[in-house]
């Protein structure tokens, strides 16, 4: 589904991302972990053609993302709050995204109705602008907006941050269902190793822009990841 080849991104000589080859099959739930500055958001931005790769390319469903826009109809994403339009209400925002993705109001209503639990009564029908919602509620709205229009690829950057524990658990269930039952390819990044191992079948660890680990999730993955990041701490202390 998504194939990355010889991809690199550098800013004035400093390489921030360098991936030789990475292939994500259709329907996989894919997790990206790494410390700050590891290149997670850079990779997602490249995937969405928001920045231009220095070398190499990403191919999504045999579309080269920085050459054609054909990937847009089947890809949706929520990277950060700047994906929201502050002066719209959540409903208006959903309808707007729906319009862009060829869904009418009824389709959008039907979809958002499924997320009543997830919204916890704080999003729909409140007559509030998105800019007036709390960070967590903004995130909920953004994540659900990314599910509108039956996308085949969903990209979520740090979806668990800022959410309350109940919502985190619900979100994990939603993401699992999407990948397992509907064959959607899901890419998430997170700092929370536990959440990622819960949700993702496969986890890739980025470090200073390089892929250092590529793991199939199994019961020992969490331990392995924790060990990896703890040892990283030890080495960085030695460096100091």
């Amino acid at each position: 589904m998504i194939y990355t080849k010889d991809l690199s991104k550098s800013y004035s000589g400093t390489t921030v991302l360098n991936i030789e080859e990475l292939s994500i099959p259709k329907g996989q739930s894919f997790g990206l972990v790494g410390n700050n500055g590891a290149g997670k958001t850079t990779y997602f931005s490249l995937l969405l053609d928001l920045i231009k790769p220095t070398t190499g390319s990403i191919t999504s469903n045999s579309v080269v993302v920085d050459q054609s826009e054909e990937w847009k109809p089947f890809t949706s994403s929520f990277i950060d709050e700047s994906f929201l339009i502050g002066y719209l209400t959540p409903e208006e925002y959903f309808y707007f995204i729906g319009d862009l993705r060829g869904q009418n109001k009824a389709d959008v209503d039907a979809l958002t109705a499924q997320f009543e639990d997830f919204f916890n009564g704080e999003i729909i029908g409140k007559k509030k602008y998105l800019r007036d919602l709390s960070k967590g509620n903004q995130k909920k709205a953004g994540i659900v907006a990314a599910l509108i229009g039956n996308p085949e690829v969903i990209i979520l950057d740090e979806p668990f941050a800022n959410l309350d524990p109940t919502t985190q658990i619900r979100l994990k269930q939603i993401l699992k269902d999407l990948a397992e039952k509907q064959g959607v390819t899901i890419l998430v990044s997170s700092h929370d190793l536990m959440h990622v191992t819960d949700v993702c079948e496969r986890i890739v660890v980025l470090e200073k822009g390089n892929v250092v680990k590529d793991l199939e999730t199994n019961p020992t993955t969490l331990k392995e990841l924790e060990a990896h990041f703890a040892s990283g701490m030890a080495t960085s202390q030695e460096e100091e």
Binding site: D49, S82, I85, Y87, S134
Partner: protein, 492 residues
């Protein structure tokens, strides 16, 4: 403590990307400031002679004081639009061991050092010197000077009180208009002769220095009131408590007739109506309609036919220019999202185009009464409207592809330079000067009718080649996509 604050202020000013990026704009502002300083100096030194000439049989000092009321009103109005509330990013300071009152006093003290408080001094001090040289008693004039300085500060703090009220109302101009209107009305309808009251008061204080305590007391009251307002705001309550502003949703289904661009048009209309900056811009439309009234009542301008084209382009294109010059920066807050969505750039731009065309038509229709000043004016305005639709709309969209500055929608519009770059200055040349110059040239060489025809033909050419032009403009936007995304995600 003050030392720390000053240090922070300094860094905030010189490290802001706004300062670093728009040096040209800053230089321009400095020139403006210098210009005003020179004007005021001239006024200060020249006023005595002017008054002596204009009112030979009256005492110049008394006459000057008689006009002080108008100066106070004018200053208040000017400050409301130009002077910014003193701000300081206090959030990081709230948890540090600094007394809240220290912060407030610093912010208020800082405002006393504003350029707007120094500017009158450039007139007051020379005027005082001239008065003393003219033989007025030194002690009297010095008292007067001190009183004037206190009054300047009173206006300074009164303005902040007015601004604090206007921040809470929907129509931000209302409080200042109410205050100034009341003051002026009291005088004009002789309810309370403010003009003589202020003049006599100033004279009285100058002669009896002890009464300087009165303006001083007023200043103290205003300061304390400001202190109270600001201190109340120094809690995070205002940002933590959920706002209760209910959404007023208008029915925008009429836009559906525009087909595939309807979602964007609805978005644009909501953008204009729901954000402070765009909303006050929309209010400025009134100025666009009334713009001709600055010129046409004077016979002098009615002789100058080339002015018709200029006024026509400006008044029918007022929205086009104000809205268009910041495309696509209006959407800078969520530009990343738009770019990752399944949108056709051409639709996005066409929505803005249609909005601008509609505004030109509406403004032209509202301007039809100008026919009162002569049918030639109406015809010139019509030609200008066609030119705006056919040519300027495309030019400004094209110029937008060079926009690299983010806009914060929640700030008010008048004299807000955020998002202004070289583009906004340069775009004025093809937009206004070229059609005006061409019009003037043909009007002079051939005839008025030929000049009008030229504008109309150019406009129609633009309309005919609309599809082609849009294709070209769209490509321009696509080419600068990455640069725009990068620029819009940076804070100024």
């Amino acid at each position: 403590m003050i030392k720390h604050f000053l240090n922070l202020e300094w860094k905030q000013y010189f490290r802001s990307s706004y300062w670093q990026k728009s040096i040209a704009l800053n230089i321009l502002l400095v020139f403006f400031a210098l210009y005003f300083v020179v004007m005021f100096l001239g006024l200060g030194f020249g006023l005595l002679f002017i008054l002596k000439k204009a009112f030979p049989e009256q005492d110049a000092f008394v006459v000057a004081n008689g006009f002080m009321f108008y100066w106070i009103i004018g200053d208040l109005l000017m400050r409301f639009f130009l002077q910014k509330l003193p701000v300081m990013s206090v959030k990081p300071l709230l948890t540090t061991p600094i007394k809240r009152s220290t912060i407030v006093n610093f912010v208020l003290g800082k405002s006393a050092l504003s350029f707007f408080n120094f500017l009158p001094l450039f007139a007051i001090i020379p005027f005082s010197i001239m008065l003393i040289r003219d033989g007025y008693s030194t002690s009297m004039i010095l008292t007067w000077m001190l009183t004037m300085i206190i009054i300047v500060l009173i206006i300074n703090f009164l303005n902040f009180i007015i601004e604090a009220f206007s921040a809470e109302t929907e129509l931000s101009f209302l409080p200042v208009i109410a205050v100034v209107g009341t003051l002026f009305g009291l005088d004009y309808f002789n309810v309370l002769p403010m003009k003589t009251l202020v003049g006599d008061g100033l004279m009285y204080i100058a002669n009896n220095p002890i009464f300087i305590l009165i303006p001083f007391a007023i200043l103290a009251v205003f300061y304390v009131y400001n202190f109270k307002i600001l201190k109340d705001k120094l809690f995070l309550d205002s940002s933590l408590k959920s706002k209760v502003t209910e959404v007023k949703a208008a029915d925008l289904s009429w836009t559906n007739r525009f087909g595939d661009i309807a979602p964007f048009m609805q978005l644009d209309l909501k953008l204009i109506w729901r954000n402070k900056r765009t909303k006050s811009m929309a209010m400025l439309l009134v100025i666009g309609v009334l713009y001709g009234l600055f010129f046409y009542p004077q016979p002098m301008y009615r002789e100058m036919e080339f002015m018709f084209a200029f006024i026509g382009i400006f008044s029918t294109g007022f929205f086009l220019i104000n809205f268009g010059q910041f495309i696509p920066a209006w959407d800078s807050g969520y530009y990343k999202m738009l770019m990752s969505q399944n949108i056709k750039y051409e639709q996005y731009l066409r929505s803005k185009f249609i909005l601008m065309v509609m505004s030109v038509v509406i403004l032209f229709v509202l301007g039809i009464p100008y026919v009162y000043f002569g049918w030639k004016i109406l015809i010139a305005h019509f030609a200008a409207a066609i030119y705006n639709i056919g040519v300027n709309s495309h030019v400004i969209l094209w110029g937008g592809s060079f926009n690299r500055k983010k806009i914060d929608l929640d700030k008010k519009a008048a004299f807000n330079y955020q998002g202004t770059g070289a583009v906004q200055w340069l775009i004025g040349i093809p937009l206004m000067l070229v059609p005006m110059g061409l019009f003037a040239l043909i009007n002079w060489l051939i005839a008025f009718e030929a000049a009008v025809a030229m504008l109309i033909i150019l406009g129609i050419l633009g309309i005919v080649f609309h599809k082609k032009l849009m294709g070209f403009i769209t490509q321009k936007y696509l080419d600068s996509k990455y640069k725009m995304i990068d620029a819009f995600s940076q804070d100024n």
